[in-house]
Symmetry: D2
Subunit: 305 residues, 4 copies
Amino acid sequence: MANSKYEYVRNFERDEHLLPNTWIVVRIDGRGFHKLSNHYGFGKPNDIRALNLMNLAATRVVTSIPEIVLAYGISDEYSFVFHKSMNLFERRNAKLVSTVVSTFTAAYVALWPTAFQSGSAWEDGTAASLDVAMLPTFDGRVVCYPSWENLRDYLSWRQVDCHINNLYNTTFWALVQNGGMSHTEAEEFLKGTVSGDKNEILWSRFGINYNNEPEMCRKGSVIYRDYALETTATIGEPKGDEGDEVWRGIEQPGSKTQAEKMRKIRQKARVVTRHVDIIRDEFWVQRPWIRSGKPGKPPEQDLES
Amino acid sequence: MANSKYEYVRNFERDEHLLPNTWIVVRIDGRGFHKLSNHYGFGKPNDIRALNLMNLAATRVVTSIPEIVLAYGISDEYSFVFHKSMNLFERRNAKLVSTVVSTFTAAYVALWPTAFQSGSAWEDGTAASLDVAMLPTFDGRVVCYPSWENLRDYLSWRQVDCHINNLYNTTFWALVQNGGMSHTEAEEFLKGTVSGDKNEILWSRFGINYNNEPEMCRKGSVIYRDYALETTATIGEPKGDEGDEVWRGIEQPGSKTQAEKMRKIRQKARVVTRHVDIIRDEFWVQRPWIRSGKPGKPPEQDLES
Amino acid sequence: MANSKYEYVRNFERDEHLLPNTWIVVRIDGRGFHKLSNHYGFGKPNDIRALNLMNLAATRVVTSIPEIVLAYGISDEYSFVFHKSMNLFERRNAKLVSTVVSTFTAAYVALWPTAFQSGSAWEDGTAASLDVAMLPTFDGRVVCYPSWENLRDYLSWRQVDCHINNLYNTTFWALVQNGGMSHTEAEEFLKGTVSGDKNEILWSRFGINYNNEPEMCRKGSVIYRDYALETTATIGEPKGDEGDEVWRGIEQPGSKTQAEKMRKIRQKARVVTRHVDIIRDEFWVQRPWIRSGKPGKPPEQDLES
Amino acid sequence: MANSKYEYVRNFERDEHLLPNTWIVVRIDGRGFHKLSNHYGFGKPNDIRALNLMNLAATRVVTSIPEIVLAYGISDEYSFVFHKSMNLFERRNAKLVSTVVSTFTAAYVALWPTAFQSGSAWEDGTAASLDVAMLPTFDGRVVCYPSWENLRDYLSWRQVDCHINNLYNTTFWALVQNGGMSHTEAEEFLKGTVSGDKNEILWSRFGINYNNEPEMCRKGSVIYRDYALETTATIGEPKGDEGDEVWRGIEQPGSKTQAEKMRKIRQKARVVTRHVDIIRDEFWVQRPWIRSGKPGKPPEQDLES
């Protein structure tokens, strides 16, 4: 029985192939997480267990997709960066965004019970089991950045946002939880304040030194594969990056084998999570493989253990 | 602290808004389900528990997104049909596909333990708990169909595919499981056979009447909101559909309220799952609200219960 | 000498194929025609020679591209409608828009000297020869309309715009040319007026009956292939249109030959220009071939001549 | 009279905004120029008058669109390069391609009579006047290149193509015109030959030294704005280019004024046409303003004259 009579409908399918030689960012966002965090009694301003769960789910995504060179997360959002030389799924937009979103969601839901089993300082344990009518879900989008500078600026934008939001939320919830204000009163009180004001309120009213707040909350979380810096000579930003050469080689036989080999090295690498500054150059200078896309040797501490 | 220095990166975001007044289909597909079904010991040719889990997850999607008028699933794929008049997420491609994929994945993972708790005739119970390194994930894509005929042909295409694949798989696994053939031998044996041949093999060799196989396997599963056919006068295909009028009214004040009201009626409606022919007209003639997009009254059996 | 080293750059090319089974409209607009019409001394509010030139150029486009079923023009813009069943250039966006724009521009420039050779009531003949630093150019865009109703509404939108603009311009220029007002005064004077007011001003102040203005100015110009209405039985809107069947047949051998045959009949047909109402049904009922896309026999008057 | 009833059709318009910070190339191609060149009796293998006309039309495009930093043409095609920092028409795809194609076509048609008035060595003068049924038209497409290396490779690809095609055509037509072969015989004769073979055939059979053929035919034509190299210090490729800074500044007030100032300097610059190697670095090192996008001072020879 041939299927040809109806098969013409495939002609209506359209694939968007993202521009080659650009950095691809897939950013996912929690859907209705304000309501969801109330439903499950998340701690305020931050629920460390929920942030850890985000990081575990993101680690699952990075581990299962070696083409991702870095992920950066704050609150209920995560950005996954694909190297500009990569050609996974022929760079099809819908395939990339749906695979990342589905892998993240699957891990988030599967790991939920473990993440919320042990309570934290703020919690009453209500989050322990998932309600099918209130499942955590995420939407996603894809953005291409043509230059390394654009990508760095994108990540800086997210980390600045992390800082702005977390300082605001920390002060807001201190005023509500410790200062006895209503939500509206706290909101009114903070209108027009700048960073310095909020730091001062936290310190003078509540004895809170904002810089002692958990780094995960203040800096967000960055996930990447860890390699050893091979020689001091390689310290410093690489002059260029691999994009142009890889795309130039796209027609050449043999290039697939090389790509496959690099993929396997990446799959074996240790995926780590850090809460550090990614705006200044230091982070990137010490990890040149993120920009170059070339996997290295495992770091010494891995060899020792 | 202003975020303006880096915020320019938002200018690189691009949204694709799908063409108005077209039927939108989001089709999701299991990623690597061949490997996954082996890992968890799914029954062959069909694992009824796994198919039921697909249907439960899809029902969750339809329930939580009232703009979906119908879903149709076979094997590890599901198609969700949005009415052509809908404007959810301003019809943004990435938002639609990621929301459907994430909602489906979340439900599939969350409901997995329940689905696999009770064994079936074929199972040894290995599927009971999920392995984090082998999580079920789905990718998705969006297709627009301009006419009702195109949409009907799309759904017919999927149902014909269901039939072709299921007849093949049923015969293949009978030859392997009951006929003692290796996978390769069974494959060779079936080369060049047509439907009639396979029916004959099943009957003469194994005493299997293909038409007695479960309807869920032979016809797939269709999910929709159930309403009463209000009067005999409304039986028959509606002359047209609501698309044109809705899009004409897009600028008119008040149209939002009306849409909101219809959305609420839909949210209250009962979502049902059936395993029936959707190629012939009968199914559609008896459920005119699917094409019209106009919710009706609940069916009588609902009122009685 | 192989060109392979650089040829990888072709991988950066992206083609947008417009959704099948939708009506495609390519609309072109004169670039900077306000300045251009002043430079060449076009008559105000309308320069009949310039409008005729638009129509001649559009006729050239329709004649050379048989897939176009209708063109409609007002002022310095023209819309070209491709039948929804057509597959010219595989419906590639850039190819369609650039071909229409280039063909229109070439004809407009080539026919300019003829169009402006004989002066009209308003002209002093300055337009006779083209200045290379002030060449007429056009930009273009593509829009897809999924239903016949959407397409009709699009064309109605343009004809309503024609009416609104022409009534305004006729009154404005009467106030300036015959009423001695400055541009600013006329603009101020017309602020807040409705159609009835403008008709009244024209009549009471200048004895102009707007309905006697040239139909080309009041109704715009519609261009199409003319065929005979074969029998009275075919009068009336066709029940459906050919789109679905054609797209269904897209995989079938032989369909190309049929398409080629129809293309040839169209190429031989007479292309006519009319200045009539295209908002009401009458125009379309009498010319069913525009919607059906099926070419007919030549009209009787053609056979006689 | 309001136009609101039909105006909803504007919601079907879709604009593609090309990715910021990428080099945009609009490439136009003559439509059916094989037939057209026969119709008008173009000289073979090259008609110098026709190539000059291409260059004049392209110069018109570059002159009227200051955002174009370079154009490169061979045979009946021309590539126009927009600087990656530019935001003309908000980088809308259809607007860019249609404007370039229309401006080119208008100039090509308007300048045709002048270009073909004086005959050349090969011509019989048949091209003198344009036939409305055989107007020259062009289609176009847009490609984005993220890096300077990709753009250079694109232009190298076109210049290598120019060389390959011109060497072939020169040999082919020598065999036909001077060697008495038919088209088929010449084609057969050249099958499998490499560059060296063709050079040898030209020299040994016809005494033609290919390197003495006109540079316009062998190298194509490159068009750009000419400025003085301000100091020896600026010789050498600039370290980076302006793209990132410009896009970073996209939100900042004042940036528009600066852009407007640069646009005016560009409009005054002399647009030149050269037939030189653009594959090696030399051309680019001596004209750093093409990559930087920063206009300079006029060259000395311009000041003297």
